[in-house]
Symmetry: C2
Subunit: 199 residues, 2 copies
């Protein structure tokens, strides 16, 4: 959460954000194929070459997840109450960000729309989701006091929660967004519990 005081680091972060921001905005208004890396670099006031010091591709800049967000997620997960069960804690961390911070919510919806509109964004989008998964697995293992290489549970919990979250969000976004997202998610968990219960 803490922004670095270091000038060098602050500039670096600013450049990162300027590039990501330019990438998203230009794509949203002009369309994906009408935006080149040169355009993005120009909008962020850096050389095209610098773009590739930060991102490995145009798509990455649009749908990538900022490292600080990952750290943030990890911190949030560690701060959840001890008595909360793992699955609740992980779900809460993810939902929390969507419902608490309007700017975050706006950004995730924009992302969802762009991915919907331009299927070529899907691969990198899923890779970004995988980054989140990796972070959560590591952190949850730490929180549970187990080793993620030997104990399946952290991975199982995280992959199930993120899968539900991701697919429910897409579903909710495709449909009219009638009910609140939190309700849709609760339904999804309930449905899974029902389907999973031995008859």
């Amino acid at each position: 959460m803490s922004e670095p005081s270091d000038l060098r680091s602050r500039k670096k972060l600013a450049t990162y954000r300027a590039l990501a921001h330019a990438a998203r905005e230009l794509t949203a208004e002009r369309g994906l194929e009408a935006v080149t890396v040169d355009d993005i670099a120009a909008a962020a006031d850096v050389s095209p070459r610098t773009f590739f010091n930060y991102f490995s591709s145009k798509e990455q800049a649009i749908v990538g997840v900022e490292p600080a967000v990952l750290e943030d997620l990890a911190a949030s997960l560690l701060e959840r109450p001890r008595e909360e069960r793992p699955i609740e804690a992980v779900a809460a961390v993810l939902l929390e960000r969507m419902t608490t911070d309007a700017e975050t919510a706006r950004r995730w919806l924009l992302r969802a729309e762009l991915v919907e509109r331009y299927p070529s964004l899907l691969p990198r989008h899923l890779a970004a989701m995988a980054d989140i998964e990796r972070t959560l697995v590591t952190t949850l293992a730490q929180r549970m006091g187990v080793d993620a290489d030997h104990d399946l549970r952290p991975m199982v919990v995280v992959s199930a929660v993120t899968a539900l979250q991701r697919s429910t969000l897409a579903w909710w976004n495709r449909g009219g967004r009638t009910e609140p997202l939190g309700d849709a998610l609760r339904s999804a968990f309930a449905a899974l519990a029902t389907e999973l219960a031995k008859p």
Copy 2:
């Protein structure tokens, strides 16, 4: 499952497979960055331009899923016994292919290794998994006699099963592959059921 009798279609399928095969083999032996699209096209005896009539990128050729496989998965799912619960049916369809057909198993393991070795394959790999998900959701909705746009359950079941399958496979592959894959999967489902149960 049925191969087309049509000459045109048979040639097309053959070209598709020759390209995909060349892409996988060349990458496995030479390494990803040492293989160009021109190399792949040459190995498959077609022009480089033709490669792009079949695949949208080199990565796609390596880790993409053949349309016939998707149809195959759908068919398998529809053939599962009626009384089997959705979650079992989906899990069975996926596990079945790995354990029944040695060639399929070999191919999935090679794929897992390549993705592990070359992270730049991950995005397209995940996109390919998403293709499988889409197919399964549609088919499962049909099997359950519901509409996937209104009823969350098909999507919930499929995304949970595929997430577990995918992550368990990666875990099992990273570890020594000591226990049988089926056992690992069963453990994963059991763990999820436990974590999901309200206390």
